[in-house]
Every structure is written in structure tokens, then in C-alpha cells.
């Protein structure tokens, strides 16, 4: 079966690239699963989503993706993320800490948009790393 060629790129670096059997991402419309021979799609990803890349014979690759786009064409999948972190790069303790701090400042000021964003990002990091949030 044909494989997907996947590239996860952020403006500052290429985060991951390789072949995969399935890519699952979360767009603003909901989760989308891409398998080989998928029709061309261009979607807007949600802030603080988790990207999963399934590969044959290897464990799934998870990454926290902070906003961006997914584009699929001719078995090429590219994830353009403003910021993305692979599960293996995530510092769980730091993410938990960030989440707590962000939640504290949301409680203090409900209109704090920065803190909400930060909380979403921290939660995505934890989910990507396989932690329960």
C-alpha cells in the first residue's frame, strides 16, 4: 500500500519528516484522519491540538501542535504549525507547572486571553505526552 510522506514544519525548523500510514489531526471542524490516497484537503488546525502519526511496526508519534494548517495532496501531508513539539521533546513537569500557573491566572482574571491560550497549549503538551488532563 502506498505510504504518506509526512512533514511537520514550524517557521523556525523542520520538526519531523518521514513516511507514515495514517495521520490524525484536529481541525476547527473536528478530528480528521488522513490515510493514503486521501483527497486533497487544506484545513485550519485548532490551537492546542494533538497530532498523531501512525507508522507500521513502530509506535505512534504524537506531537502538540499550536495552530497552523494541514495540507494533503498526492499522498504528501504537510503540517504547518506555528509551534509544535514532539512528545519525546516535551518536559511533562514543566508543562504541568505551566498549566497550573495559567489556570491560576484564569481564575484571577477570567478575561485573560493569554492565560487561556497558555492553558490550551500546556494541556495539548500533556495530552501529546500521554498524560491525563
Amino acid at each position: 500500500m502506498a505510504k504518506l510522506r509526512v512533514g511537520v514544519v514550524s517557521p523556525e525548523r523542520e520538526i519531523w519528516s518521514g513516511e507514515a500510514d495514517m495521520v490524525i489531526a484536529k481541525t476547527v471542524d473536528g478530528e480528521i484522519g488522513i490515510m493514503p490516497e486521501h483527497a486533497p484537503v487544506l484545513g485550519v488546525l485548532v490551537e492546542g491540538g494533538v497530532l498523531r502519526i501512525k507508522r507500521e511496526g513502530e509506535s505512534d508519534l504524537a506531537a502538540a501542535v499550536h495552530g497552523g494548517f494541514i495540507s494533503v495532496a498526492n499522498n504528501d501531508v504537510s503540517i504547518l504549525a506555528e509551534g509544535a513539539e514532539l512528545a519525546s521533546e516535551i518536559d511533562i513537569a514543566a508543562a504541568k507547572d505551566a498549566l497550573q500557573r495559567a489556570q491560576a491566572s484564569i481564575e484571577a482574571d477570567n478575561e485573560d486571553a493569554d492565560a487561556r491560550l497558555e492553558a490550551k497549549r500546556a494541556a495539548a503538551r500533556l495530552r501529546a505526552a500521554g498524560e491525563e488532563v
Binding site: E12, V28, A39, L42, G43, F69, L80, E82
Partner: protein, 300 residues
């Protein structure tokens, strides 16, 4: 004679210490160019993908009508983003950028458009404040190592001002393109409104696929275009950072070469002076000895 010798020695010493500094700056700049180039390389995949995505959306929608692509019939003001450096010691780098920016300002004024400068880099900011020119925005402190967040902030300010009814109608950017270690060119480009080009697909070239959009083409375009502008600005910042270090390296190399040449000249002058002094001393001694010998011979 002794005074001249001392003076030359002192000058040689001071030129030598200057050469040491410029040599160090040159080496630092060389290593930074490599890093700046790596950052430029690292940003290439994202730029390529986002350009492809924008092309994809634009070629799928019959008529693109978006605030960022809409041309004003009578543009009145234009924002000019000028990318300069924070620190000096980089030869003509800033002067070249500012000269092009001035030329652009002249061109815009000929068309009856007022140019509002948005300046990146301490040198450009100083240049504008010294001439008491009003700036639409100023950013300092990241010219050597721009982060994407910096580009995002600049793009945010520019796009907001662009969207305002009485804000700016066009956005131009003046930056230095990094071609190679030896060649950097100042580039003047209009980034907004984005130009949508109609192009025929050349035979043999892949036709852009017919995309489905999540959620809709309009929404995708809405979030894609600002990212595209950010990416263009980020690219300009990265290119400029690499060019800045390249100009600095070149300026510091020629400063070091000049200093070494000067040291050579001074050393020769010093040797000449020392030789002249010795010759004079010898002739004085010989003259004195002769005089003594003559006097002794005269007595006998």
C-alpha cells in the same frame, strides 16, 4: 630623533590593539554567518509549504476577494518596513538599506503617497529620530537573531494598520537579501496588498490539486494569508541577519588588513628612524674621537 621613535612605537602599539579587536570581531561574525545561514535553511520548508498552500487556495477559488489582496484605487499612505541592524561595525550595510528606503520614499511621493516608516534595528531608529521623522512602529534588539515571534509581532502591527479604514494602504519592505558570503543585495518589495497572478500551467508541470477545505475556503484564506505575510517578514529578517553578519565580517576583515598594512608602514618608519639615530650617534662618536685624536696630535 628619540621623540619620533617613541611616537612611532606608541602608534604601532595602538594600531596593533585595534587590529586585535577587529580580527576578533571578524572571527565572531564569520561564525555567526554560519548560524544565521542555518536558521535561514531551517525556515525554508515552512516557507515552501505555506507558499504552496496559498497557491492551492488561490487557484481553487474563482475570484479571490480578501482585505489583504484588495488594491485601493487611490492609495494615500504606504507603510515601509525598513530592516537595519542593532549594532554598527558593519560597513555600508545600514547606509545601503536607508538609501534604498529614501529612494522608495521619493518614488512614493511622486505618486502622491505618503510613506510611513516602520523601522527594525537600533541604527535605523536612530537615523529616523535624528531627522525627527515620525515612525509608524519601531523594534529593536533582535536584528542579529530574529525569532518567529518578532516577525509575528511586526506583521500584526502592519496588518492591523492595513485593515484600518484610514490606516496604510500599501506595505513595502526594504531588506538585504543574502545571496552568498560575498554578495548581498538590498531588495525593495511590496508585500501587501498581495498580488494574485494569473498563470498558465506549463505543460508537464503539475496542476495544483483541487482541494477540499476545512471549514471553508474563505476561512482557510483568512487564517492563511496573515501567516503568509508573517512568513515573508520572517524571511526578510533572517536574510537581513545573515547579510548583517556578512557585511560585518567584510568590514572587519578590511579593517584588520588596513591595520596590518599600517603596522608595516610604521615599523619601516620606525626602523629608519632608529637607523638614522644610530648612524648619527656613530658619526658623532667618530667625529668626537677624531677631534680628540687631532687635539692629542697637535699637543705632541
Amino acid at each position: 630623533m628619540g621623540a619620533q621613535l617613541r611616537l612611532l612605537r606608541r602608534r604601532i602599539k595602538s594600531v596593533k590593539s585595534t587590529a586585535k579587536i577587529t580580527r576578533a570581531q571578524e572571527l565572531i561574525a564569520s561564525s555567526r554567518i554560519v548560524k544565521a545561514q542555518q536558521r535561514m535553511q531551517a525556515a525554508v520548508p515552512y516557507e515552501r509549504e505555506i507558499t504552496r498552500a496559498v497557491t492551492g487556495v488561490v487557484s481553487n477559488t474563482a475570484s479571490v476577494d480578501h482585505p489583504l489582496t484588495r488594491e485601493k484605487e487611490q492609495p494615500a499612505t504606504a507603510g515601509v518596513l525598513i530592516v537595519t541592524s542593532d549594532s554598527g561595525f558593519c560597513g555600508g550595510y545600514n547606509a545601503n538599506v536607508l538609501r534604498e528606503a529614501e529612494a522608495l520614499r521619493g518614488l512614493l511621493e511622486e505618486r502622491g503617497i505618503r510613506a510611513v516608516p516602520f523601522v527594525v534595528g537600533r541604527k535605523g531608529v536612530t537615523w529616523h529620530t535624528f531627522r525627527s521623522r515620525e515612525m509608524g512602529g519601531r523594534w529593536e534588539g533582535f536584528s542579529r537573531r530574529p525569532a518567529y515571534a518578532d516577525a509575528k509581532e511586526i506583521a500584526g502591527v502592519l496588518i492591523d494598520s492595513f485593515k484600518e479604514e484610514d490606516g496604510i494602504d500599501e506595505i513595502h519592505v526594504v531588506y538585504t537579501e543574502f545571496v552568498s558570503m560575498l554578495t548581498q543585495n538590498v531588495i525593495v518589495k511590496r508585500i501587501l496588498p498581495l498580488e494574485v497572478e494569473e498563470a498558465e500551467v506549463a505543460p508537464g508541470e503539475a496542476i495544483p490539486p483541487y482541494f477540499e477545505f476545512e471549514p471553508t475556503a474563505g476561512d482557510v484564506l483568512n487564517s492563511l494569508l496573515p501567516r503568509y505575510v508573517e512568513s515573508r517578514i520572517f524571511n526578510a529578517l533572517l536574510q537581513s541577519a545573515a547579510s548583517e553578519e556578512a557585511s560585518r565580517r567584510r568590514a572587519m576583515k578590511s579593517a584588520t588588513d588596513n591595520a596590518n598594512e599600517l603596522i608595516g608602514v610604521f615599523t619601516r618608519q620606525m626602523n629608519q628612524a632608529r637607523q638614522a639615530e644610530i648612524t648619527q650617534e656613530i658619526s658623532e662618536i667618530v667625529g668626537g674621537a677624531n677631534a680628540l685624536a687631532d687635539a692629542a696630535a697637535g699637543k705632541e
